[in-house]
Structure formats: C-alpha cells, structure tokens
C-alpha cells in the first residue's frame, strides 16, 4: 500500500492515541493497587512509595492460590477434552464429508447463537440432577458442551482447507482412516489446534456466569468467577481490590504474550472462513 507522508504521520498519531487509550485502564489499576491499602485514591496518581505489599495481602486474603488451583483444575479437563472432541468432529465434517455433514454443520452453527443466559437456568437443574452441583464438574462438563459449536466449526474450517489428495494418497498406501488421521492430519492441524487451545484456555479462565451460578463456594470457582467475591470482601479498599484483580489478570496476559505468535499465525491461516 502506497501512502504519502502526511497520511503516514497522521496514521501513526491516531494509532498511538488509541494504544494509550487501550492501556490506560490497566495502568490505572496498577497505580491504584500501589497506593496504601487504607486510603481512597483519587484518579491516576503515581505514588513515590509503591506499596507492593498490597499484592501480597490481596494474594493471601483473597485465597488467590486456591482460586488459581481451582481454575487450573477446570482448565486441565476442559481444554484437552474439548480439543479431542472438536478435532475428531471437525475431521469428520471437513475431510470425510460424511453423509449429513451439512446438516450437522448447520446444527453446530445454530449453537453459536444461543446465549449462555438462555441455558443457564435449565443447566442449573440438569447439573443438580446429575449430582455434581457446587463442584468444579458442574462447570467442566457444560463448558465442554458449550465450546463444541465454535471449536467444531474452527477445526472443520482447518480440515476443509486440507486437500483431499493427501488423504487419498494415504488410503492408497493401505493406511486405515484412524492411522491416516493420526500420522498425517494431526501434525498438519497443529497451528489450528494450538490457537484453539489458547482461546479455550482464555475463555475458561475468564469464565464468569457459569461458576457464579453453578458453584456456591467462591473459592471453588474460576479466578474470574471469584472477582465479585473480591468486590464484596475488598469493597472498602480500592487498592486491595485492584491489586487482587491484577493478580488475576497476570496469568492470562503471560499466556497470551508467550503464545501470541502461534495465535496470530493461526488467525492468519484464515481460520476465519464463512
């Protein structure tokens, strides 16, 4: 794209303004978190005596270690199981082109439009009937199901892009469907798989509505689901509240920064197909 000088400079300025606007709320949280815990800070201030101790206090009083453990427990089950189910289904729909794959595709797409709120109340009673209410399983199983529409469509989009000749070549060599899947398709699918894994990790870690409704003890929810609990406990201390919220955000930012290359890569591969 060829642009002239003024447009380039104007463009840069706009971009920088937007970047600052994006980052300010987070920087603001940091500045508030560093104030002395029993004060009511005013706006964006940079204290000369940063109270890093607030983070320690928030970590202990907020039981953050236990919250992270609980979130990790949920993630460890939700993400791998979802990936497996979605990849298998995506393969079947995108590559095998089985009979009824078009119907199944539409069936999954409709699931994308169902808002969680429409399901949360019946989900509550269903989970109660299964006897897993108020445990992490109450969030794990429904999340796997709720992620299926997006994940299946995502993986299908990848498999659709893989040329049929590859499978046929493997088949001619005498490989069974399963072998072909394992040795040829899976390695190819790795970028799409890792991008999906990151997305599912983020969505699970940040899950709010389901844990709040289905798990009564805030300490057994996800870290995001326990944020209202933080608000209740620390409502009188803005610095502690912000410190607690920041502690919760840090793992997601870390994961994203570390894996962003894979992530953007997968997006670039045009996983966004109609």
């Amino acid at each position: 794209m060829i642009v002239n000088k003024t447009e380039a400079i104007l463009g840069r300025v706009i971009l920088i303004v937007v970047l600052i606007a994006t980052v300010i709320p987070l920087v603001n949280m940091l500045s508030a978190a560093l104030q002395p815990a029993d004060t009511n800070p005013t706006g964006l201030t940079f204290t000369t005596d940063p109270q890093w101790i607030n983070f320690v206090t928030a970590f202990e009083k907020g039981n953050v270690w236990r919250l992270m453990g609980s979130s990790l427990f949920i993630v460890v089950f939700v993400v791998p199981i979802s990936l497996i189910c979605a990849t298998l289904a995506g393969y079947a729909l995108g590559n095998l082109r089985i009979r009824g794959s078009r119907f199944l595709f539409i069936f999954f797409i409709l699931g994308l439009t169902i808002p969680f709120e429409a399901l949360i109340i019946p989900l509550y009673y269903e989970v109660q009937g299964m006897g897993i209410l108020n445990t992490q399983w109450a969030v794990i199983f429904p999340l796997i199901g709720l992620y299926m529409p997006f994940s299946v469509i995502w993986m299908r989009a990848h498999f659709v892009g893989v040329p049929q000749e590859l499978s046929e070549a493997a088949r001619v060599d005498g490989a069974s469907r399963w072998q072909e899947f394992r040795s040829i398709q899976l390695p190819l699918a790795r970028p799409a798989l890792s991008a999906l894994a990151i997305l599912l990790f983020l969505w699970t870690w940040n899950q709010f509505l389901l844990p709040v409704v289905l798990i009564s003890d805030p300490l057994n929810r996800t870290v995001a689901g326990a944020l209202t609990f933080f608000q209740g406990q620390y409502s009188s201390s803005i610095p502690l509240l912000n410190a607690g919220a920041l502690i919760i955000i840090v793992p997601t930012i870390l994961v994203f920064v570390i894996f962003q290359r894979q992530f953007i890569q997968a997006l670039l591969q045009g996983a966004v197909k109609g």
């Binding site: 009511n40 119907f103 509550y124 009673y125 109660q128 006897g131 209410l133 108020n134 709040v212 409704v213 009564s216 003890d217 805030p218 300490l219 209202t228 609990f229 608000q231 209740g232 406990q233 409502s235 009188s236």
Partner: protein
C-alpha cells in the same frame, strides 16, 4: 428412477426430523418439572452436644466477620466441633439461597434475610421442637415474632424458622466535629430540628447526609422517614405479607416526599448512585457528611475510626415527644431442613444466645443486642461508647414497641427488583414520593400473585 427415489429419501429426512422434534416438544411440555423438594431429616431432638467430631458449614455474606469469631470461640470451648464458613456477596447469596438449601449437601446454617418460599418448599428447619426443649419461651417474643411463619405462609406468628445472630437497631450517626462547627451541640429530637440542622450544614458548605444508593442502602433514609409518618403495625403487616396489607399509605408517601425534598435541596452527595455501602461508610468515617443513616453493626468500626467525635441516636420523631420507631431486625439465619447435624447446629444457635462469652462477642463485633432471655445479664459495654448508645436505643425501641423490620425484606425480589431502582430515581429527584410508593406496591402485588 434412482434419482427420484433418492430425492424422495432426502426429502423424507428433514420432514421426519421435524415430526420427531415436534412430538418430543409436545411430550415435554406435557410433563411438569419440579415437585421434588428434599425430605427433611427426621432426627430426635437433643439438647446435649455430641462428642463426635463434627464439621458444621455456614454460608454467610462478605463483610460481616461475626460468624468467624463465634465459630472460633465455639471451637475453643468444644474442640470436637469445627466450622467451615463460606462467604459470598449479599446479592449472590440471596440469589443462591433457595438453590443451596435444596441441594443434597445444604449448608447447616445460612444467612437468610428473606424467607421467600423456603418454608412452603420445606427447605428450612422448623425450630419449634428445640424451642420447647431449650425453653426459648423466656426469650423476647417481640424479637422472635418476625422469625415465625404460620401455615398460611404469613410471617409474624406460627412456627419458628429463624434465629438472629444479634438483633439490630438503626439510627443516625452524627459527626460531632462538624456539628460543633455549625453550632449544633445536641442531637436533634424532632424532624423539624433535624431539617434545621441539615439546612445549616448545606448553607455552610458541609454535606448534610452521607448516603449511597449503588446497592440500595439509601433506603435506610427512606424507610426512616416513612417510619415517622406511617403506622408501624401497617408497615409490619406489609413486610410480613399479611393479606390485604398495602405499601401505598399516606404516611409512606409523606416520608418518600420528604426524602425527595432533601434530594432537591441537595442534601445528598451528587454521585449518590455510584456510592455503595462500604464507600459511604468509609467516606463518613473520613469526615465527609454531618449525618449518616446506618445501623449498630457499623458502631464498633466507626468508633475505632472516629473516636469520640461521633454520636449515635434514634431517628427523630415527627412530633415532640412522639413514639420512636426504628428499623431493626434479627441478623437472621436459618437451619437447612436437609442438614445432617440439626442438633449440633441448633446447640450452636442456643449457645450464641445464652453463653456469656458469645453474647459479649456479638455485642463487641456488631454492637447488636444479643437477644435471648432479657433477664440474662447484658454484655458489658464501654461507658459512653457508640455500642452503649446502640444498646440503649434498642431498649427504648423495645419499651415503646417501635421496632419495624426492613422493608427490603418484604419479598425475595422486591429489593433488587423494585426498591433499589426506584429509590435511585427518588434520590436524584426524578420521581415523586407517590410514584415511588405506587411502583413498589405494584411490584409487591405482582410478586405475591405470581
């Protein structure tokens, strides 16, 4: 020929699917959900504490550490009993309470501000058998009455379903330093005097009333105003869902209009709808506002932050020498019908009302009256302290029979669904007192009907 046969087969697919779906839907709508309330545990009433190791679960709200202290003291006295206290925000807890109680592992004790449908659904335990065994008939009946529910589901009489961890009283805190600046050396005893003080503060550039309504707490002010003009018995009937009771009374309208006039005169903070409970308390304690309407539970903390510079008094009456009316309620807790430790948890409740150390903890931590037998010795309080004032206020209200429950407890949904949003409009001068009262009454009628 093959083509038409295939086309016919393809066409049959979606048609068959739709037929199946329709039948399934019809079948489902034909069978009704629910109707499977948990069966209450049948247990023999005992007033002896077991010697087995027991873990009791308590579901409580955030920001009120009383249960932690009581639990710790109980475990100290009876080491075989330990507690697991879970906390959640007030709104999460009230939304979750019926579900928690209906689950297979309900908490033994739960903070339950509004009874709602829990009694008729068989979710909370009837405490009458234990009341008889422990002899609670010696306790103040006026305190226990709102905790009873009769067969028709009306509160105020019948079987006992709740007990209070402390029985609260509300009033006004005054910043004595600011008052001195305005030349006020006594607390107001009539509404007229109160209004004079408010006007003086406003004129001098001091915030007259520190209040907040992000989470509805300005209703301490609204109801306090209503209390001085309405018939407390009518208000109690409405709160207890007695059939035929209405909120739309001239007294209530007058009270709401009074609050509206205060809003119009700028007596409230300009950002009132962004201030929540914790914020308005901490701002008052930091010196902002001449008056604040709050309850005894804030007394200990306020005294710690403000020392001798604060006073606590009952809301002034409309006329000189009139009867005092104040909101007060049990810090109500209920025992789950499905609890596996009914005897133990009720023993704990009885202990809270009778053990001297427990009673002292209740008063020290929350400034509330400990309830129980009025003949029993009251906890010691520091002379001249806010807590002493609070207990005195409780005594006055008790003697004048002016205790009224919080209107927010009238039904399960009325606080979040109507009182909070409408009060937010009232205190920013957007609706009149009559509109406030009418809308709340409409919501009440609709919720009770359906």
């Amino acid at each position: 020929m093959a083509i038409s046969r295939t086309r016919a087969r393809l066409a049959r697919g979606p048609v068959a699917l739709t037929a199946i779906a329709a039948t399934a839907l019809l079948a489902l709508t034909a069978c009704a959900p629910g109707g499977n309330a948990p069966v209450a545990n049948d247990v023999e009433v005992s007033t002896e504490l077991t010697t087995d190791d027991v873990v009791l679960t308590i579901a409580d709200e955030t920001g009120f550490p009383l249960t932690d202290e009581l639990a710790a003291e109980f475990t100290k006295q009876y080491p075989n009993v330990t507690f697991n206290v879970t906390r959640d925000t007030f709104q999460n807890l009230t939304a979750a309470a019926p579900k928690l109680l209906a689950s297979d592992t309900p908490p033994d004790l739960i903070r339950l501000p509004t009874i709602g449908d829990t009694v008729q659904d068989g979710l909370i335990a009837n405490l009458d058998p234990w009341a008889e065994a422990y002899g609670w008939d010696k306790w103040s009946e006026a305190q226990l009455a709102p905790l009873r529910v009769n067969e028709d589901g009306v509160r105020g009489s019948g079987s006992l379903y709740q007990l209070g961890l402390g029985y609260s009283i509300t009033g006004i805190y005054m910043n004595k330093t600011l008052a001195a600046q305005l030349g006020i050396d006594e607390v107001p005893t009539t509404i007229a005097e109160l209004e004079d003080d408010l006007a003086a503060a406003k004129a001098a550039g001091i915030l007259p009333i520190m209040a907040g309504d992000l989470d509805g707490v300005v209703n301490f002010v609204v109801q306090a105003a209503m209390n001085q003009y309405n018939d407390p018995n009518e208000m109690m009937d409405w709160i207890l869902n007695v059939p035929g009771a209405t909120y739309d009374t001239p007294g209530n309208v007058k009270g709401a209009d009074l609050v509206r006039s205060w809003a119009d005169k700028g007596y409230f903070p300009s950002d009132i709808n962004a201030i929540d409970y914790a914020s308005f308390v901490s701002r008052f304690q930091a010196g902002e506002g001449l008056f604040t309407f709050n309850g005894n539970w804030a007394a200990a903390d306020t005294q710690a932050k403000m020392g001798d510079n604060v006073d606590f008094f009952l809301v002034p009456t409309a006329e000189e020498g009139g009867k005092h009316v104040a909101m007060g309620a049990a810090n109500s807790f209920s025992v789950a019908a499905g609890s596996k430790h009914l005897n133990e948890i009720v023993y704990f409740l009885n202990w809270i009302h009778t053990d001297p150390t427990a009673r002292q903890i209740v008063t020290d931590v929350t400034g509330a009256a400990p309830g129980g037998d009025p003949a029993q010795e009251q906890p010691t309080v520091e002379a001249g302290s806010l807590i002493e004032k609070a207990l005195e206020m409780s005594a006055v209200i008790g003697a004048e029979n002016g205790q009224v429950d919080f209107m927010a407890n009238a039904t399960a949904g009325i606080y979040a669904g109507s009182i909070i949003p409408e009060s937010q409009l009232l205190v920013t001068g957007q609706i009149t007192g009559q509109e406030f009262v009418t809308r709340v009454q409409d919501f009440y009628a609709q919720e009770l009907a359906g």
